[in-house]
């Protein structure tokens, strides 16, 4: 509705055009709104469809796994079902201890290497740093089975072939830690670089302005400030490492006795799940749910814990 305010002035061409657009928009409004509502509804449906299988997995885990939890389950070693006692499956003490030792040793050498390399990437923009950054990114995405081959070639058979005798050569917890640790390093590098880079430049420069060397600023200023981020980085890498099966598939020897000695053959929770799930015994297959529930609870606990801890540390600081 073009109303010219002043008589005699010719109508504004832009205004006419806008009117045309409005008319078209009005005419198509119903259809457009209908399409839009339909699509938005289908987006919601997609979200529901995405969550259904995920909820189904969690439901199966809890429903079929929780009744396996008992003192015996956590304190006995596995048994093979026999004709006399087809339901005897024992417990998972060996797998719990194995996971703890293997992932602990892996973290022990992966954390310093990862964090220090992350610091290097955050501090330096040299060509070497850029190359390392790309390498770390590609390493993060490589299939973890490749690290299993690496650990097998190096630790399990490599040293024998070169005639070097060390404790832990052959199928052992050490070999598993080696594979898992190398898996963790690039993840820690990426996450800790992000955390260290997010330290404000003003803090850094304040340190430098006081005459501190870069190394001192890094040790006394940057790392403490970035600590919540670093802890999250390490714990997230750990939560990924705990559930990895492929790298340890044939390097830790899958022993059925409990041992704390990493130079011996060991067991591990994800490996135990893989073996029990594909075993011919029904009772062992059923027991897998108990192990899987334990593993998922541990992983989600570390994962959630790291987020909560980081949030809490950040609040404390303010």
């Amino acid at each position: 509705m073009t109303t010219t305010m002043i008589e005699g002035v010719p109508p504004d061409p832009m205004l006419e055009r806008r009117e045309l657009i409005q008319q078209v928009a009005h005419r198509t409004l119903k259809r457009r709104m209908f399409v839009s509502k339909a699509v938005v509804a289908s987006l919601g449906a997609a979200l529901v469809a995405a969550l259904i299988p995920l909820f189904a997995i969690l439901f199966s885990l809890v429903q079929k796994g929780i009744h396996w939890w008992s003192i015996d389950f956590f304190t006995k070693t596995p048994q093979f079902p026999s004709l006399i006692d087809p339901n005897a499956v024992g417990g998972i003490e060996n797998a719990l201890v194995g996971s703890l030792v293997i992932d602990g040793i892996a973290a022990l050498f992966a954390v310093p290497i990862g964090v220090i390399t992350g610091l290097f990437l955050a501090e330096s923009d040299s060509r070497l740093a850029n190359a390392l950054r790309s390498t770390a990114e590609i390493m993060t995405g490589l299939p973890s089975i490749l690290l299993g081959i690496f650990a097998y070639q190096m630790i399990v058979i490599g040293f024998h072939e070169w005639g070097i005798a060390l404790p832990g050569i052959g199928f052992s917890g050490i070999a598993g830690s080696f594979a898992i640790g190398i898996l963790m390093i690039p993840v820690i590098i990426k996450a800790s670089e992000t955390a260290l880079r997010s330290v404000p430049f003003t803090i850094r420069e304040a340190g430098l302005a006081l005459g501190a060397r870069k190394g001192v600023v890094a040790r006394k200023v940057i790392i403490p400030t970035a600590m919540p981020g670093l802890i999250t980085a390490v714990l997230l890498a750990l939560s990924r490492a705990v559930g990895e099966t492929a790298p340890i598939l044939w390097v830790i020897g899958a022993s059925t006795v409990t041992t704390w000695d990493p130079t011996h053959e060991m067991a591990s929770m994800p490996l135990q799940i893989f073996q029990s799930a594909t075993s011919p015994y029904t009772s062992l297959r059923e027991e897998t749910w108990g192990i899987a529930l334990t593993l998922v609870v541990v992983v989600l606990f570390i994962n959630l814990g790291s987020r909560l801890l980081a949030g809490w540390l950040q609040r404390e600081r303010r």
Binding site: L142, I145, L210, I273
Partner: protein, 322 residues
């Protein structure tokens, strides 16, 4: 002018900053270079060890390792073409389901859900991305496989009257099941990464488009999706790399059969699952052949990953300058 405030503060400074008495940065930089060099060394040794372990196989069969059609331990004949086909097909099945549902969910999380539910759905997706792949495999084997065998496969076969691509036998474990398990596994990853890409599209663009009379879907299609496109493609690429290289979850549900799949219900094998399942009792030449599969897998995933990272970085950089 001997007792100027400056002198006092200087004294205080040296007093207070004794911790800063390091003579030079030599120690700092040597530790940094040393440890980073160690990481670089590990990567180089890793690459060499995988490649060297595969050399006997390349010497034995040459490039027929890649295009050969027969994979058999008995006849010492190692051709990976059926296995590569299986890998690409499972990944394709997973992507066909995961891409529309994943991107739709990401859009729904950012632009449809009310804000309180948004945080809940986001953290749920992130937690589910942390569930170990062996658990997905377990669920696929013990829950999904029987259901497929008894319900899904017969009814799908009825659709095409038991012809391609749904021929019997119905075994549960199959190409289709492996694809579905992969789909469920990479879904949280696609949702989480493309949600990040969608969330960085500036909100004033969204509201500007709404204010000129566009409907919500028009805004999403014409403004949000184009702006987030590179990030979303990057997310899908990274998920593809993960699906290509997934080992145990696939190994549990694919049935390990190194023949060309003739239907979606036939058992098959993928690069990673073949390595995982055949390594245990392999002949020395077969170990080398599995090493060659590892090299193929490494090249494939590294390439896909590299593209994905580039796209994501590109989209993040653009978001800063918009």
């Amino acid at each position: 002018m001997s007792t100027t405030p400056l002198a006092v503060s200087d004294e205080l400074l040296t007093e207070k900053t004794k911790v800063f008495s390091v003579k030079s940065d030599f120690a700092h930089w040597s530790v940094l270079y040393g440890v980073s060099g160690l990481f670089a060394l590990i990567c180089v040794v890793f690459l060499l060890s995988v490649v060297v372990s595969s050399l006997p196989a390349w010497r034995h069969s040459g490039f027929s390792l890649i295009y050969g059609r027969v994979w058999s331990q008995a006849s010492d004949s190692f051709g990976a073409l059926p296995i590569i086909t299986g890998t690409l097909m499972t990944t394709a099945i997973a992507l066909v389901f995961a891409v529309p549902i994943g991107i739709g969910s990401a859009l729904a999380i950012v632009h449809v859900l009310p804000s309180r539910l948004r945080i809940f759905a986001s953290s749920l997706v992130e937690l589910l991305a942390a569930v170990p792949s062996v658990v997905y495999g377990l669920w696929g084997l013990l829950v999904l496989a029987p259901w497929f065998e008894q319900t899904v496969q017969p009814s799908l076969a009825d659709l095409t009257d038991h012809h391609f691509p749904f021929q019997p036998p119905f075994e549960g474990v199959s190409l289709l099941l492996a694809g579905c398990v992969l789909f469920i596994m990479i879904l949280p990853m696609i949702v989480a990464l493309s949600r990040d890409a969608i969330a960085v599209v500036p909100h004033d663009q969204f509201e500007g488009a709404l204010s000129v009379g566009a409907t919500k879907w028009q805004v999403l299609r014409k403004v949000v999706l184009p702006a987030a496109r590179t990030g979303i493609v990057g997310a899908v690429t990274l998920a593809t790399a993960r699906a290509l290289g997934e080992t145990v979850a696939v190994a549990m549900v694919i049935g390990l059969n190194p023949l060309f799949p003739h239907s979606l219900f036939s058992t098959a094998s993928t690069l990673a699952s073949t390595i995982a399942l055949e390594f245990q009792d392999a002949t020395p030449l077969q170990v080398a052949a599995l090493g060659a599969l590892a090299v193929i897998l490494m090249v494939l995933t590294a390439f896909v990953n590299w593209i994905g990272r580039r796209l994501i970085r590109h989209s993040a950089a653009r978001a800063h300058f918009v």
